[in-house]
Amino acid sequence: MNEPRPTLDLEHLGFDRGAQVLLARATRALAPGALLEVCGSAPALGVELAAWARANGHAARPLTDRRWTLEIGRSAGARRAGAERAGLPEEPASRAPQCWGLAARGALVEAGGPEFGFRLCEREELWTADEATLYRQALAAQWDPERAIPWSAPLEHSDELEDALVEVLTFLIENETAALLVPARFAGQTHPHFRETLQLLAIQAADEARHIEVFTRRATLRGRALGLSTVGGRASLKSLVDEPDFARAALLTSVLGEGTFTNLLGFLHAHAPDRCTAEIMRLAAQDEARHVAFAMSHLAHHAQADATLLARLASAVHQRHAALLATSGLSVEVFDALIALAGGSYQPRAIERGHAAVVELLAQMDAGRRMRLRKLGFDARQAEQLSELHTRNFM
């Protein structure tokens, strides 16, 4: 017994009104060799149907002047031959092939096409299940400098103290520039299949762009000249910008550098000479804490999957230390400025208080670094030694 032949009635639709949509839909499920009966009353439908069929590898034959048989060609569905799903929307593949390119995660990827050159394409070194949450938190915590900072709060301190603040802000701007460049560079090397990693790197770069803006705006608020950019500072930051390995860069820049900066920004929040500066430091410290959490998350995950990672990370700290041995570390100007800010004036007793506060800050920075290193899996002695080797320049 013959199966009833599938029929498509286009009614009055011609190719100027979307007939091809219904034809594509009706032929999609048909196998090569299958027959579809098409009818319709649009003028010259037969001319266009024959042309459409030919272009799509099918053959159209007239039955009457309003009725045709469409024979499905051999190439039907061939575009999907060899196509594969680019992982699952909710969970990436363990390794993202270069040919997936920029395809949405979970998309059906047509076989063939160009190979991309994303250097970072292994899930274990990039991606953790926490990243989606971290990204959402980062997004929710974005702040608008215009509205979040009390730019017109009174500045009642002396020019000398303002100069100390500007010295520190000059140092911060330079450091935050490194903290922008490092994630931005790795973002360009990250396979977009690891969407959350890419999003976090991008928002991290955007955070730093905002920090650079607010630090610059505050530094110039009273019209004072900017401070000093030292050779030692630049050498220290260059070693971060040049680090080619994602995990090593995350340890040096985020865990140790930005980790140390959360203490520094907290200190500046507490000792800010004005409300505007205090608010800037509070908001920047929040952002930096998220950057540290992101690095901690993927490094801890990576260390569990790769037993050699901790040794590689330790060697990164040793190498950076050796490379910076000949440099002077934190500039005297910044160190002295921090003391003055913490003291609140240049009176001897105030300076004494400020000095004690900075010594306490250095101890807190060291304790924070050791705690984070321990969390990554280093033992107490290693953590102490690595924290000790971290750059004097804070970042």
């Binding site: 011609g14 100027d16 003028p43 010259a44 042309a51 272009a55 047509e110």
Partner: protein, 213 residues
């Protein structure tokens, strides 16, 4: 000895280079050394084909007829190797009041263009009526002349006919060249055009120049 084919074609669009560069790489991966020569018009390749400048001509319908006529005069034997599936059984149509600026009342176009112009809204069909449609005809054709290296030609033809649209390594090239499959070459689809050429004396000048009139 390596199989080698040099193709002569017309650079009607910049994408022609992309297409033949792509096929060149693919043929090389299949052990066929392939190169191509491009011309800026449709007549010179016919002339050059008879001078042996290349092995296979990618002939338009008119070039195919010209080749046929010159070959007849010079006692050579042209052979159609293969063609695109989308070049078989075309028709041309004359839609009336088709051109929207109102300056022209009718035009002649390939049916595929009519469908494409309808689809993209260039020709709203409410303002258009198809006045006439030609009988079916064929378009481009790979043509060789006698004396060509038969082994290389056989390999070239075999590779063309073996290309499959579900092969991801050639599908982008087939998309660019606008076909789903290569078919056996045939020549009966040029009879209408040949009659029209004779009727209007279209080929006379060229054939005289080629001393084939």
């Amino acid at each position: 000895m390596t199989n080698k084919i040099v193709l002569g074609a017309v650079a009607y669009d910049a994408k022609v280079v992309t297409i033949w560069d792509g096929f060149q790489r693919w043929f090389a991966s299949q052990g066929l050394e392939f190169d191509y020569v491009l011309y800026s018009n449709y007549e010179r390749p016919v002339e050059q084909h008879f001078r042996g400048a290349f092995d296979v001509a990618w002939n338009s319908p008119l070039a195919r007829i010209e080749t046929e006529r010159v070959a007849r005069a010079r006692r050579r034997t042209p052979r159609a190797l293969a063609m695109r599936d989308t070049d078989c059984d075309l028709t041309s149509v004359i839609p009336a009041r088709a051109l929207i600026d109102g300056e022209v009342d009718a035009a002649c176009m390939i049916d595929g263009n009519l469908a494409a112009f309808s689809n993209d809204g260039t020709l709203p069909r409410s303002a258009t009526r198809v006045l006439a449609q030609t009988a079916k005809y064929d378009h481009c054709n790979f043509t060789v002349l006698d004396g060509v290296d038969e082994r290389s030609v056989a390999r070239f033809r075999e590779l063309l006919l073996g290309m499959r649209y579900d092969d991801a390594s050639v599908r982008p090239l087939m998309d660019l060249e606008g076909l789903k499959a290569w078919r056996e070459g045939r020549t009966q689809g040029y009879a209408q055009l040949e009659r029209a050429c004779d009727r209007f004396g279209w080929l006379r000048e060229f054939l005289e120049r080629m001393q084939a009139a």
